[in-house]
């Protein structure tokens, strides 16, 4: 009797529970995919600077006005938690219809089958606007899993007044690492440092800038990739380490901080230069005290000025009900004026030449835009982007090992060994 009662109760409660939660996720139901039917698409954007958020929202609003049948809803996500969030969203079947992420992060999702092949849906116009090298960063086996939107490069920001004082003029097409070290040394005096470098999360910086010295880090792709750590790969950490501990021209404390944490020291003249992603320019503009003069130095150069192209991406979930409509919105987003608007808001480099030209025209190349846009030409695909377990290697192996080395707790040989052996461990 007791058992029967319990079972009955359990069943009835299940039904009620299911009934109250029924309206949770599938509000655009029907799902036939025909474009005449009205659908609402969720667009999870990771834009975080005020200017970019505004630009992105404007794109969405313009689109919604012109496309009453395909409404897009702006949803705010965050770079910090995007990966964990997407794992749960895919798992729970609540992934947004348009997913904003970056190429290095989506490799795992591609392999897990979560992302849709967009090649049948994207327009020829979009396909032609982006160079093949950049398409390669979001493709696998001839299928295209995302549209690349914006590129980031690492640049050197400098305090103009302090450069003048020290008699340094940095012009030309590029700034060699040797010159950077020499300048930083010259600018170091009286408790002030030539360079502040927020390297709390060092892996992305080291791997991207590693291309300066043709650092590969991996051979092969997917699960079969092998780690390849040699002098070329270790050149960037070694040079940073030398500057911090031999020349003492980088503040070692800054190496433990995040990019934006070192900016107050930059405004206060404690650091004459800082290295960071070019998006930091927007924050400098907003926060720096009045009268603070700064500039962007020419791109860093080792054996070349190459950096890894790790574009931001827009993807669509494979289980999405409206892949075709989502791709149409992505086409629209990729139009030159739209990409230019978000790029300008974030100080990032659009993937299409037309959008870069639009920014150059709008800004007149001022405030370092000239140098920023030029650096975009040197961005190419790096091997780590197609390695499935790269995120795990990055978190568990590379980041701790690099942090340890940059804190002067281990030597270069140990770093190399850790990076190499660690790969075997996480990829087993």
């Amino acid at each position: 009797m007791k058992k029967v009662m319990t079972a009955l109760l359990a069943a009835s409660a299940l039904v009620t529970l299911a009934a109250c939660g029924g309206n949770s996720d599938d509000n655009g139901s029907g799902g036939s995919g025909s474009s005449t039917e009205k659908v609402t698409l969720k667009f999870q954007s990771l834009a975080f600077q005020k200017t970019t958020v505004a630009a992105t929202k404007k794109i969405v609003a313009d689109w919604n006005a012109a496309n009453p049948n395909i409404q897009v809803e702006y949803v705010q996500g965050s770079w910090d938690s995007v990966h964990d969030q997407l794992v749960t969203q895919f798992q729970g079947g609540t992934a947004p219809d348009i997913i904003h992420d970056e190429s290095a992060d989506i490799t795992g999702f591609i392999n897990q089958g979560y992302l849709a092949d967009l090649s049948p849906y994207l327009s020829q116009e979009t396909k032609d606007a982006v160079s093949q090298g950049v398409w390669d960063t979001v493709s696998s086996d001839g299928k295209v899993y995302a549209a690349p939107t914006l590129l980031q490069s690492y640049v050197v920001f400098a305090n103009t007044a302090l450069l003048k004082q020290a008699g340094i003029t940095a012009t030309g097409d590029s700034l060699s690492w040797d010159d950077l070290a020499a300048d930083a040394k010259k600018l170091t005096a009286n408790g002030k440092y030539g360079l502040g470098w927020g390297l709390k999360s060092p892996t992305a910086t080291v791997l991207n800038l590693g291309m300066n010295f043709d650092g590969q880090f991996f051979e092969g792709s997917g699960r079969d990739a092998k780690a390849k750590i040699g002098d070329a790969e270790l050149a960037v950490p070694k040079r940073i380490h030398d500057m911090a501990y031999t020349d003492k021209s980088i503040d070692p404390t800054s190496l433990t901080q995040s990019g934006s944490d070192v900016l107050p020291g930059f405004y206060a003249g404690k650091y004459a230069m800082v290295v960071g992603g070019n998006y930091a320019a927007q924050q400098i503009l907003e926060e720096a005290p009045k009268g603070f003069q700064w500039e962007v130095l020419p791109p860093l150069k080792g054996t070349s000025s190459k950096q890894a192209a790790n574009p931001q991406t827009l993807s669509v979930p494979a289980e999405g009900k409206h892949i075709e409509q989502a791709a149409k919105f992505i086409d629209y987003y990729m139009k030159a004026e739209n990409l230019a608007a978000v790029g300008q808001g974030d100080w990032l480099i659009p993937t299409t030449q037309a959008a870069r030209d639009a920014i150059l025209k709008a800004t007149g190349g001022k405030n370092g835009w000239q140098q920023t846009l030029v650096s975009g030409n040197e961005l190419t695909k790096a091997p780590f982007q197609s390695v499935e377990n790269y995120p795990k290697w990055k978190d568990q192996i590379a980041t701790p090992a690099l942090q340890e080395y940059l804190a002067n707790k281990t030597d270069l040989a140990t770093l190399g060994k850790k990076l190499n052996d660690g790969w075997g461990q996480v990829n087993s």
Binding site: G21, Q49, Q76, D80, T88, G92, T94, P264
Partner: protein, 277 residues
């Protein structure tokens, strides 16, 4: 107890140390929330802001997610508190009054539920809630909070129920009142302080909860305040500390108000409940 003067002095020194350790962080947070962005970026901080600037608050409040997070948190916390009380009261009554076989089982469950790391629970929980369409919904989080704050509610309430003199109930049952009526009309009023303390505890643990919400809520419109705040911490350390500090102060206010209202009752309630238990 007589206290010697030197001991007295030491006591006061100790109290001051405790006051600084416990109070200074909050003071700093409030002061930070009132500083302008420029003052914030200054490398020589001052304890009190030079100019009181409320722009961080307006920034934080204009951030849509924050206000919505506040509302979501309030909704979830209040709903789960009410549910916990409704469900726990009869159970704790039964636990305190009857010697049934369910008692050792329940107490065992209470203990086990404290010991298990949530990571072990959250994945299956996710899998159970998904077919019920309760992941990524507020009702889903509410019932999860209800179940997971029950152990503590039962602990607390059991003690309070036991402290209610049994004679009162017996008198009522002699008068012919049924069990349910006895509970409602005799026991409940006497349990007021206990119910308040339990409500307070449940509210605060729901208000503060992070992990379940992190996994169960993905839609930004549904996120609770702690999740919204954690998101503020931003990408690659792009932290806007000013608005963040303002938002943090705002997130502390509801519990503090709760405290202010119930402070006296809470401490005496908590204490008596715990001791009598």
């Amino acid at each position: 107890m007589r206290t010697r003067p030197t001991a007295r002095v030491l006591q006061y020194v100790a109290v001051v140390c405790y006051l600084v350790f416990l109070g200074f962080p909050l003071l700093w947070l409030i002061s930070s929330s009132l500083k302008s962005p420029q003052e914030f970026a200054s490398i020589t901080p001052t304890i009190l802001p030079k100019n009181v600037d409320f722009s961080n608050y307006s920034d934080a409040l204009s951030e849509q997610g924050l206000v919505r997070g506040l509302m979501n948190s309030l909704q979830i916390s209040i709903a789960s508190t009410i549910l916990v009380l409704i469900v726990s009261l009869p159970v704790s009554y039964a636990l305190a009054r009857f010697r049934s076989r369910l008692r050792p089982i329940t107490n065992g469950w209470i203990l086990v539920s404290q010991v298990f790391p949530v990571i072990l629970i959250v994945i299956p929980l996710f899998m159970i809630l998904r077919p019920l369409h309760l992941t990524n919904t507020i009702p889903g989080v509410v019932i999860v909070y209800m179940v997971w704050s029950m152990p503590f509610a039962l602990w607390m309430l059991q003690g309070y129920v036991a402290a209610v003199p049994r004679e009162l109930e017996e008198a009522a049952s002699v008068d012919g009142a049924g069990r349910l009526r006895t509970i409602v009309s005799i026991v409940m009023p006497l349990l007021r302080p206990g119910l308040i303390a339990t409500a307070m505890f449940t509210f605060i643990s729901a208000w503060n909860e992070f992990f379940f919400a992190l996994v169960l809520l993905q839609d930004p419109d549904l996120k609770t305040l702690p999740l919204v705040l954690a998101r503020f911490v931003g990408a690659e350390g792009q932290v806007q500390f000013g608005p963040l500090a303002a938002a943090s102060v705002l997130a502390t206010v509801p519990s503090l108000v709760f405290f202010a209202f119930l402070q006296r009752r809470l401490t005496s309630g908590l204490l008596s409940g715990a001791v009598k238990g």
